[in-house]
Structure formats: C-alpha cells, structure tokens
Symmetry: none
C-alpha cells in the first residue's frame, strides 16, 4: 500500500527520484521479475495534482470501464480521459523518471514535488499546493468524524 509523503526535486535534466518506499510497493505488484519496472500516471480529474499507481491501479480502472455499456458515450469519454492522458514512465537504473510536460503543467509543478500515498494509488503535488490541500482535507475529515464513525460501523456490519 502506498503511504507517507515524500518531497523530491527535479534535476537539471528534468528527472525525479521516485521515493524508494514507493518503488517497493510497485515492485511488490509486478509479477515476479518481469522487468515491469515503472509507474502509470495521469492528471487528477478534480485536483491540480498528478495521480499514479502500479499495474494494479491500471487494471482496476480498466475493469471499471469494462463494466460500462460498450457503445455508450460515457464509456468512450471516460476511457479517453483515463487512458488518453495516461503515461507509463519507466524507471532508469537509479529509480528516476521524467514527468511529461502536460502533467507538470496540470499540477503547476516547477522545481519540487510531493509524492503522497493514498493506499491503492498515490498523488504528486506541488508542495505549497499540497500543504493547502492537506490542511483543508484534515479539517474536513475532522468535521466529518460522524461519517468516519459510520463508515467503520458499516464495515463491522458488513463482515
């Protein structure tokens, strides 16, 4: 599972070290030394951030799209947004990737970025923007403690 928040820096060539802990999660998803070493990334639908994950995430998204009516407009639109703007970024020998310009632009990233674990996926933020989002998210979570409680209660019922 992806967790924690780590800040990394873009070097003169536009490269970024993907945090080792995050790479470890990716590696655990790969089917045993398949050389499948890299991440999938795409712009967030709702936030000024980049979202990404490993093979599992892409397979989940794929499965979701597959559940929609094959000839519906929604399906085509969703598939286009999801896959059309997605990139597979391969690690170099030292675990670094180069983020495509459109993604950097979407997340307003210039020199530094935060990798934020979200469990099944992660996000990449411009540090200042993430600080603001995080403060907001924390406040919202606190206000919605009742929702949290009902979620954990529902979970118990479900078992």
């Amino acid at each position: 599972m992806f967790m924690s928040t780590v800040t990394a820096k873009i070097d003169a060539k536009g490269r970024v070290s993907v945090p080792a802990a995050l790479r470890a999660v990716i590696a655990s998803q790969a089917p045993e030394a398949s050389g499948q070493t890299g991440i999938f990334v795409y712009p967030s639908f709702t936030l000024e951030a980049i979202e990404g994950g490993g093979r599992d995430l892409m397979q989940n998204l794929n499965a979701m799209v597959d559940q929609l009516d094959p000839f519906s407009e929604e399906r085509d639109a969703l598939a286009a947004s999801l896959f059309g703007d997605s990139y597979h970024l391969a690690f170099d020998a030292d675990g670094r990737v180069s983020l495509p310009e459109p993604l950097l632009h979407h997340a307003v990233i210039t020199t530094h970025m935060c990798f934020v674990g979200l469990g099944e996926k992660f996000q990449i933020w411009e540090p200042d923007r993430f600080a603001a989002f995080r403060a907001d998210a924390r406040r919202t979570a606190l206000e919605n403690r009742n929702l949290l409680r009902s979620l954990s209660a529902g979970q118990r019922e479900g078992q």
Copy 2:
C-alpha cells in the same frame, strides 16, 4: 491487545526501542513469520500524540476508504489525511524504529516518549503531556462512571 505504559528514550541516531511487550502483540498479528515486522503510525486527529498499531489497523483504514466512491473528492481527501500522514516503521534487528520528524513535531517529542496501550491500538506521547492528559482522562472517566454502569447493565440484558 496493547496495554500498559512504557517510557523509552531517543538515542543519538534518533532511534527508539519499541517495548518488547508491544512488539509481541505486533508479532501475534503477523501471518506467521512473514517478515512483516514493524508498526504503522500516524498523527492523532485530535490529540498532540502519535497513534499506531499493527497491520490490522491499516487494513481497517483501507476498508473504510474502500466504501467511498472511487472518483469522489471525499475519498481522495480522506485517503490523503489517513495514508498521506501514515508511516510504516520497520524494526531493526534489535526492535528499534526511527520516528519521522513530522510525527515527533506533531507530538512535541524531543528526547523521551511514552508508549501507551489502548487495546486495538497504542499512542506515543511526550511524557509530561501524557501525564497531564491522563489526569484529565481520569477525571472525565470518574464523572462518567454512571455511563459505564448503564453500559454493563445493558450488556447483561442483551445476553
């Protein structure tokens, strides 16, 4: 279950010995020599303390988030709060961990800390703050002992 209170010290390298009793609880949760040896920790939402637990705790969080709509903003915000601030700390050969600076800062810990068992999870406190908190908690518990009485009465009826 996590119980009792133990005080430990940060050494020159920032390491802390996790109390043996607490490690034993973690070990009992791990699926038989899986090497899964470590704790999950995150800042408490409401207290100036660190909270933590074993694998079980994280799986519960995961299950909560999974109940929300995959592309909803609430889900991302909650996941960011829950997982973005969480850390997996692996034990070294001697059962020690290094607490990340953000967590130490949140709990205002500098040299010493208390591990406090809370049943399904535990907390880590700066010793003085914990003493104050405990005094307060005792007072509250005393005031609410009628509630406890009614609870145990209700339980008896339910059986």
